[in-house]
């Protein structure tokens, strides 16, 4: 048994490879000139350059947060290159045929061939390769519905007023250390705008991929759902294997106006580092949504990758009757460290939030849930329910829970429950008695443990997530 475990634990990262494409890359280092040049290359309006510089100046005065339950060598922000673009992008391809075949093969290896994607059940892909968006499909179909789905750099040219109106309204440029850095140097990302009353005709998705060595990725996503609209957005990531630690400091802002609904799903499977925790992605992400009256924002995440995760998708429930949801499965193994959770800020009357967090720790990893539920004085009749369960596999890992509950309204009700346990011998015995091998049994038990979260994922993601978990758990059983 233990041999099998060892074999399985030594399993190499499936998506680990480097595609060789010539790149134009800035020399490492960060200063105001780098930001100006970056902004210039992207042909950004004057206000945008100024906005970035303001963020940079704020960032200079900030300290890297140390409160999270993670431990990693300090990042040298001057050794990172802040811009890299695939060279073949110079003469923007109009269709897939014009795209560098090497690039397309990269996606194929990852199992997301764009040709097939086009035919697949209505999923539009805005694929980000390093920092420049390469291809956007299904654009026309979306345009018919009046939906804007494009790289944020393009949106800055085409719809500057929209971007200017909403950028930084949910995550201000000086919000936190990583958000400020992102605001200063973000290279690209997605922009989504759903007009009033429109139900987005298809699920929107982006695949991120970190490729160039020593290149931090600073994605910026902005989704605006006008009154009464609906959109479901999918985000999935995977990255090639390498030794150098890679920084990822993304910012995602969601704005759900009156009666709108945004569903944001993530499957994160970045390179977690080798057996000793060497290499691997640092995932320091700021995600936040703002709900106006009767609006709803739902975050669903399946986190299995990255060496270090620092991520708290949050909802500001500003409007009366607005709803926030957070469903999360975080699995850590090897020497992975995750500090993740959510913040639900209840400001409006009768606001509701639900938090379901499932943490699974295996190997020598540490998995922490950190959440905040705040009931403001005006949160009359507000309601929160939180459940966070941890499962420990092996005696070398850690599972932690740090829930903050702040209430200043007597009519608001907050409930928090947390449990920690291991896969019980009885459960395993029962499954094995029915003819399942131990590995299948654990996979089944863990899948059951995560059921409430998987249920919230869009169909194709649910399948992917289940498979991911199964692969990740291989050999963790003994």
């Amino acid at each position: 048994m233990s041999e099998q475990i060892d074999q399985a634990l030594e399993r190499k990262y499936d998506a680990g490879f480097v595609s060789e494409i010539e790149s134009e890359t800035f020399a490492p280092g960060l200063n105001e000139d780098v930001i100006r040049r970056l902004s210039e290359i992207k042909g950004e309006p004057e206000w945008m350059t100024e906005w970035r510089l303001q963020a940079y100046r704020k960032w200079l005065k900030m300290n890297e947060p140390e409160w999270a339950h993670v431990d990693y060598p300090k990042v040298d922000y001057q050794s990172i290159s802040y811009y890299s673009a695939p060279k073949s992008m110079k003469d923007k391809p109009k269709s897939l045929d014009e795209v560098d075949p090497e690039l397309l093969r990269t996606y194929e290896k990852l199992g997301i061939p764009l040709h097939e994607q086009e035919m697949l059940a209505g999923v539009a892909v805005d694929a980000v390769f390093d920092s420049v968006s390469v291809v956007t499909t299904f654009r026309e179909k979306l345009e018919e519905a009046g939906v804007i789905f494009c790289p944020i750099s393009e949106a800055l040219h085409k719809y500057p007023e929209l971007v200017k109106k909403y950028l930084g309204t949910v995550v201000p440029k000086g919000d936190n250390f990583f958000a400020a850095l992102n605001s200063a140097v973000f290279t690209d990302g997605s922009f989504v705008y759903i007009p009033k009353g429109v139900r987005c005709p298809m699920e929107l998705s982006t695949y991120f991929r970190i490729n160039e060595q020593n290149t931090g990725q600073f994605e910026r996503t902005l989704i605006v759902a006008e009154e009464g609209s609906y959109v479901s957005y999918l985000e999935g990531c995977t990255a090639p294997q390498r030794d150098e630690n890679q920084l990822h400091a993304a910012v995602v802002e969601l704005v759900a106006l009156d009666d709108a609904e945004i569903k944001y799903s993530t499957v994160q499977n970045w390179y977690p580092g080798d057996e000793d925790g060497k290499g691997g992605i640092y995932n320091f992400v700021t995600k936040r949504g703002l709900c106006e009256k009767n609006a709803k924002i739902s975050w669903t995440q399946v986190e299995t990758g990255s060496a270090v995760t620092w991520k708290y998708p949050s909802c500001i429930l500003k409007g009366d009757n607005s709803v926030g949801e957070f469903y999360s499965v975080a699995l850590t193994r090897g020497k992975q460290q995750a500090d993740t959770g959510t913040k639900m800020i209840h400001l409006g009357k009768n606001t509701k939030s639900t938090i379901i967090s499932k943490g699974i720790s295996a190997g020598r990893s540490n998995n922490a849930y950190r959440g905040l539920v705040r009931m403001g004085p005006g949160a009359e009749g507000a309601r929160n329910f939180t459940e966070c369960d941890s499962l420990l596999i092996g005696d070398q890992c850690g599972a932690h829970t740090f829930p903050y509950i702040e209430s200043s309204n007597p009519t608001a009700i907050v409930e928090h429950e947390a449990t920690t346990s291991k896969v019980s011998d009885d459960q395993l015995f029962l499954c094995q008695q029915r003819g399942l091998d131990p590995e299948k049994a654990v996979s089944m038990i863990v899948n059951g443990f995560c059921k409430e979260v998987f249920r919230e994922l869009p169909m194709e993601f649910a399948v992917e997530a289940g498979k991911l978990l199964e692969i990740s758990l291989e050999g963790s059983v003994g």
Binding site: D395, H400, S408, T411, T420
Partner: protein
């Protein structure tokens, strides 16, 4: 650094007694400490601005007369007024197996306990280390079964700053009942820290009554070390006062130890109460049950931080923590954080926290039975904390506390 803390450090230089080496170690640590602000996690919800520039008298002439009594309780009383022991130690009639000494004189038990159980990270604990010149050392001999409660009273009078220390050793297989009773409502600052070492198979019944009110500022802690198969049953009852901050640490240093810890806090308008509890499961097979319940009145603020830390080695631990809160009015505030930090896999841990208002249906039911609303509210809300009062093993103490707490609660309801 605050002006007050600078002054503490200066005063510490004048304390010279047999504990000098332990005190100078604490002083060195204290000098390294930063004055806590909003970003200091342990003081996130409790501002110390009222302490920062505090300038109270450090000596007092007050006597025992004002110290609180507990009717119906036949206890051995050790009364401290403004940090000075005012009971006549020579006239105490002590049961077999009990030795009580003053901290003033060199003492073997004290040497082994002073600063040994209390974690070094408590800022005010360090202040107490360097300034608490008076205190008691209680030594329970092995296998002694001491049923008579020993009550340590800390009374703080108006305008005085005081520091008191208690050290308790419960010998192997021994049983004891200790009550820490704090009171005072004048503008005062009182720190009272107690360290308990509970030997193999010993059992301690412990109560901490932090009944300071009004303008009093009370900062203190009770710290326990549990050895193999020992038992702790502790109940903490707190009011808020201008500022009350308590740190309770329970360390399972031996296997098969059992700890039960109940807390009740009842905050009248504008009071501030902050309780931090830390349970360290350092050894396997330990059990902890913690229950905290609070009712928070108008413009009062409660802070609860309950941490359970299960070390890698502490397999087969059972730990449960539950915190329930009732906010009476819109101005009331609760910040609660039940934390779990777990490094062992074969454990069962759970925590829960709720903040809610009164159950409308239960209220309606009582109204239909002809009970008037005010009375129904008192019954329902007070019943919520009374449940923990009923779990106190010492009936005399519970019977004394019950009407006092109920009256306080009724006043809280009227003041809304």
């Amino acid at each position: 650094m605050s002006q007050w803390l600078a002054q503490v450090i200066e005063r510490a230089g004048n304390v010279d007694d047999w504990l000098a080496s332990a005190r100078s170690k604490a002083l060195a640590e204290l000098k390294e400490k930063e004055w806590p602000g909003r970003r200091t996690e342990a003081w996130r919800y409790t501002s110390l601005h009222k302490v920062a520039d505090l300038n109270l008298a450090t000596t007092s002439e007050a006597t025992t007369a004002e110290a609180p009594q507990v009717e119906g309780l036949n206890s051995i009383d050790l009364v401290f007024v403004d940090g000075r022991l005012t009971s006549d130690m020579t006239n105490l009639v002590l049961p077999d197996g009990v030795t009580i000494a003053s901290l003033d004189t060199k003492n073997d038990a004290a040497e082994n306990l002073f600063g040994q159980v209390k974690p070094q990270h408590h800022l005010f604990g360090l202040v107490n280390d360097v300034l608490a010149q008076h205190g008691v050392v209680i030594d329970i001999a092995p296998n002694a079964n001491v049923e008579q409660p020993i009550r340590i009273v800390n009374f703080a009078s108006d305008g005085v700053e005081s520091h008191q220390r208690s050290l308790v050793r419960v010998g192997e297989g021994a049983k004891a009942v200790i009550i820490e009773h704090g009171a005072g409502n004048g503008h005062s600052l009182n720190t009272a820290f107690a360290e308990y070492d509970i030997a193999d198979k010993a059992a301690l019944e412990h109560y901490r009554l932090a009944l300071h009110e009004g303008e009093a500022i009370h900062v203190g802690g009770s710290h326990f070390r549990l050895h193999n198969e020992s038992k702790l049953n502790s109940t903490l009852v707190g009011y808020g006062s201008q500022l009350t901050r308590l740190d309770v640490d329970i360390e399972h240093a031996g296997e098969h130890a059992f700890a039960k810890f109940n807390n009740i806090y009842l905050l009248a308008p504008k009071e501030h109460f902050d309780l931090h509890s830390t349970i360290e499961h350092a050894q396997p097979n330990g059990t902890t049950e913690e229950n905290a319940r609070g009712i928070i009145g108008d413009k009062a603020k409660a802070v609860f931080n309950g941490r359970i830390h299960i070390h890698r080695h502490a397999q087969k631990t059972l730990a449960e923590l539950n915190n329930r809160n009732l906010l009476l009015t819109r101005g009331a505030q609760i910040n609660t954080k039940p934390e779990l930090e777990i490094y062992a896999d074969d454990v069962q841990c759970a925590h829960g926290a709720t903040v809610a208002e009164i159950d409308e249906e239960a209220l309606y039911y009582m109204l239909t039975r002809g009970i008037d609303k005010q009375q129904a509210l008192v019954m329902l809300n007070f019943g919520f904390v009374q449940e923990l009062l009923f779990q106190m093993p010492n009936r005399a103490l519970a019977n004394w506390l019950q009407p006092i707490l109920k009256q306080r609660f009724e006043r809280m309801m009227e003041q809304q």
